[in-house]
């Protein structure tokens, strides 16, 4: 594959973005998923709905609102400006925030399901074996939810790589900063440079297939917890 330097830049940027977004989503999505799996709060349907929103909203809606909210007149924009961070659109950080929002359900839902599938008795048994709450989480919940973590990470990563609409709306197509592979492909198509588009698009196609193939091969659907 003879990619141009700008292709390579887009690929590197995409991988960076997806890796960071996945790491952040696992970090912050895990407590949310845990809470969802165990709460009896009346807020649960509210939070579940919020988490699932990106699944049903068109990326253009998310992109548009992010543009408005993160803009200099938006609430998030006010916050970031008052913190001396400037505004987020057209920055890598902005893209990261957007990716996290956009990929949230792909990380939180597998984790939520994985935590929910663990029999409460496992935690009770651990508790009677002197394991405190945090100990129980790391020594029982995390290992038992391992397939869920794997699914969450793979889907979060792959979905971020595949994201286009939101990035297009708030990215501003800046090389090395916000021009990810999907945007690069779109540019090629728009500019009628179909050969270049094919090269990158084929890579994405293969990537998507390989990722999903590996996921379904090595992480078959979870058996019901005994």
């Amino acid at each position: 594959m003879n990619f141009t330097p700008s292709d390579w830049a887009a690929i590197r940027l995409t991988l960076e973005l997806a890796t960071l977004a996945t790491a952040l989503l696992i970090l912050f999505g895990t407590p949310v998923a845990w809470w969802l799996a165990h709460t009896k709060s009346r807020l649960k349907p509210l939070v579940t709905s919020l988490v699932a929103m990106p699944l049903v909203l068109p990326p253009s809606v998310i992109g548009f609102y992010l543009l408005v909210f993160m803009g200099p007149n938006g609430p998030l924009g006010h916050l970031t400006q008052s913190l001396g961070l400037g505004t987020l659109p057209f920055t890598f950080t902005g893209l990261l925030v957007a990716s996290c929002i956009y990929s949230t359900p792909f990380v939180v839902q597998p984790l939520h399901n994985a935590f929910e599938a663990i029999d409460d008795r496992m935690y009770e048994a651990a508790a009677t074996l002197r394991a405190g709450p945090i100990d129980r989480f790391f020594s029982v919940a995390v290992p038992l939810a391992k397939p869920g973590f794997l699914t969450a990470a793979v889907l979060g990563f792959a979905h971020t790589v595949g994201e286009f609409g939101v990035v297009l709306m708030i990215g501003g197509n800046i090389p090395d900063k916000t021009r990810v592979v999907s945007v690069q492909i779109y540019d090629y198509v728009e500019a009628l440079e179909y050969g270049e588009a094919h090269r990158l698009a084929a890579v994405m196609l293969i990537f998507a297939f390989v990722v999903l193939f590996l996921l379904y091969t090595f992480n078959p659907t979870r058996k019901k917890a005994a």
Partner: protein, 250 residues
């Protein structure tokens, strides 16, 4: 009796002919021409009884769709290259191409007193983002780059440039305040002869004219409404007035 029957037949035939003459045509329109084309289509329907169904978007995307069999009868492009290319590739009727509008570029900010009438702001800097349409795919983007180069500010401004995929998105970045200023089509910001915010209409000598060509596509060759629409666009006074009112020249 005979007389009455023939009268009914005539009536039926005349209804049929009205139905037959009221055709529809599918028109693909460049994003910058979205607003004027709505008004023109309304006027067109009022005057001819035909209906023009309008889809707006990026010219490059329309090209890809047309080549792959999209059901458009007409393309109102944002440039003259795409229609020429379509004609060369046999995707459109030969010799039916004409310039329906010449676009004008404007440096615009949604806020007052950002853009001055000499465009000093471009030299002064002091802003973080400058929004333009992607020059690779959008004629207005290319014109914006040409303008900055002519002014000798392109290299200095390049790191600040954010690109919309089309001129509509470039406008959106500015309208939402995310980019304090940028180059857009005059037609996008001119409303009822006024422009909100601050602006500088770029002198035409700074960029090559943005000729926007219309072309009759193969799908529309036998469509009466399509022919009528192109004719309307080319010759009708009302249509021309609408185009001018949006800041295009002819």
């Amino acid at each position: 009796m005979k007389n009455r029957a023939s009268r009914i037949l005539v009536a039926l035939l005349s209804i049929y002919s009205v139905v037959a003459s009221a055709d529809e045509t599918q028109v693909a329109v460049a994003a910058n021409f979205a607003a004027p084309v709505q008004k023109i289509a309304a006027e067109f329907e009022k005057q001819t009884g035909h209906k023009a169904i309008v889809a707006t978007g990026a010219t490059g995307k329309f090209y890809a769709q047309i080549v792959n069999g999209a059901p458009f009868d007409i393309l109102l492009a944002a440039d003259d290259e795409t229609p020429a290319k379509l004609e060369k590739e046999g995707q459109s009727a030969v010799g039916k191409r004409f310039t329906y509008a010449i676009g004008k570029l404007v440096l615009w900010s949604a806020k007052a007193a950002v853009v001055d009438d000499k465009a000093e702001v471009l030299k002064r800097g002091g802003f973080d983002h400058l929004s333009i349409a992607n020059p690779k795919v959008a004629p207005y983007g290319a014109a914006a780059v040409e303008t900055m180069k002519a002014l000798g500010v392109y290299d200095a401004l390049q790191p600040k440039i954010v690109m919309g995929e089309n001129i509509a998105q470039a406008h959106q970045f500015i309208a939402t305040g995310n980019a304090p200023l940028g180059f857009v089509a005059l037609s996008q910001v001119l409303k009822d002869g006024k422009i909100e915010g601050s602006y500088w209409i770029v002198p035409e000598k700074l960029y090559s004219p943005i000729r926007q060509d219309a072309v009759l596509l193969n799908k529309g060759k036998d469509n009466k409404a399509a022919a009528a629409f192109l004719d309307f666009l080319k010759t009708n006074k009302a249509a021309k007035d609408i185009i001018l009112s949006y800041g295009y020249s002819l």
